[in-house]
Subunit: 217 residues, 2 copies
């Protein structure tokens, strides 16, 4: 029996070690190498010729997508399964467009990962439900996505706070937002402070970023 040779590329040693331990428990899977960044992943993939590369998207030096493109361009037989956090919607689309074979969230369990490895090894693709949902919601214009897995992921902003944040994201200052809402500038300032506190961010720019990536605005 030929074991499926797997290369792990992730800059988190803890993740690498945990995955290796877990995967080596499967009799038909063998982890043959570990890379800590994209460049190393490319180098090792071409050297070791794994069947499958488990690739984290965000890595130093060269990100997972770039590394995947590089690997595929040299040896298209090497399959690549992308691993990532839940909130990287933008990357999923990028990844899909460069011919990734599988896409999994780290929120998924190891059992699912093993399934994915086997399916991809046999020539298939593996996109789980959450990934599909993400892609769809992204394409549809990021209205209200990301509420797929564990229910409530976003801190509770009140309707008024969301209204204020939306205005801010459109370039309004507290003063102009206040005029638009027919309330005092000081009230808008108050809302703004509450938003920053609730979201645990440093300023409104970060709040806008957070809100945008969570479909709040």
């Amino acid at each position: 029996m030929t074991k499926i040779k797997v290369l792990i590329a992730d800059n988190h040693a803890m993740v690498r070690e945990g995955l290796k331990l877990a995967l080596d428990n499967h009799k038909n899977i063998k982890v043959i190498g570990e890379a800590t960044n994209g460049k190393e992943a490319v180098k090792l993939a071409l050297e070791l010729k794994p069947h499958i590369v488990l690739m984290d998207i965000s890595m130093p030096e060269m990100n997972g997508i770039e590394a995947a493109v590089e690997i595929k361009s040299h040896d298209n037989n090497i399959k690549i399964i992308m691993l990532t956090m839940l909130d990287s919607e933008k990357f999923i689309v990028d990844a899909m467009s460069v011919g990734i074979d599988g896409y999994l969230f780290k929120e998924s369990g190891i059992k699912e990962l093993a399934t994915a490895i086997n399916r991809v090894y046999e020539g298939g693709e593996y996109l789980n439900k959450e990934v599909t949902d993400k892609i769809l919601s992204y394409i549809r214009g990021r209205s209200f996505s990301s509420q797929t897995l564990n229910g409530n992921n976003t801190p509770p902003l009140t309707p008024r706070e969301i209204e204020v944040l939306t205005l801010v994201s459109k370039g309004h200052t507290s003063k102009t937002a206040a005029e638009k809402l027919f309330i005092s500038e000081l009230t808008v300032v108050k809302h703004r402070k509450n938003i920053i506190k609730k979201l645990g961010v440093k300023n409104l720019a970060e709040a806008v970023s957070y809100a945008a990536s969570h479909g709040l605005i």
Copy 2:
């Protein structure tokens, strides 16, 4: 011999399973429970009375720091080791101020985690300056932000500008962004002005919004 009872709180099943496998390999450590969010972590911690809680910072429902505060307020004998990604610098200070017993980046290996668990169990702290320093220099060394394979619609921003905008979207001020990039604060200010001008927006909050909806960051 009493085993050290450990509760794992992390919303990524993969991480939980990997850690459990790895830690149960250590004869004096036993994982007695797993929580998938902050609220569950509090509940299980008070029920199961673990010696140590391994707590991820970013979790749905209630984040790791809030959960830690809650647990400590009910039972101060329960030790808490915070686990987090490299890019959550902003939480470190918060975590430190609420009496966390240990702080580890997921980039650290499981060996170091075991060391931390043992040290904390024996009543010590694990906040090593060495790691923190190494981490900080690591963080400062990797400001790349991945804007390489962009075949899509014209982002009129230069790579450096995108880098600045990305930092801004993560809550950096001009000063802290400048420190991170090893350039003058005035230069960052200049970049930010150019960004606003180029994108035709009123302020950085709107710029972040624009960038987020156009996949620039």
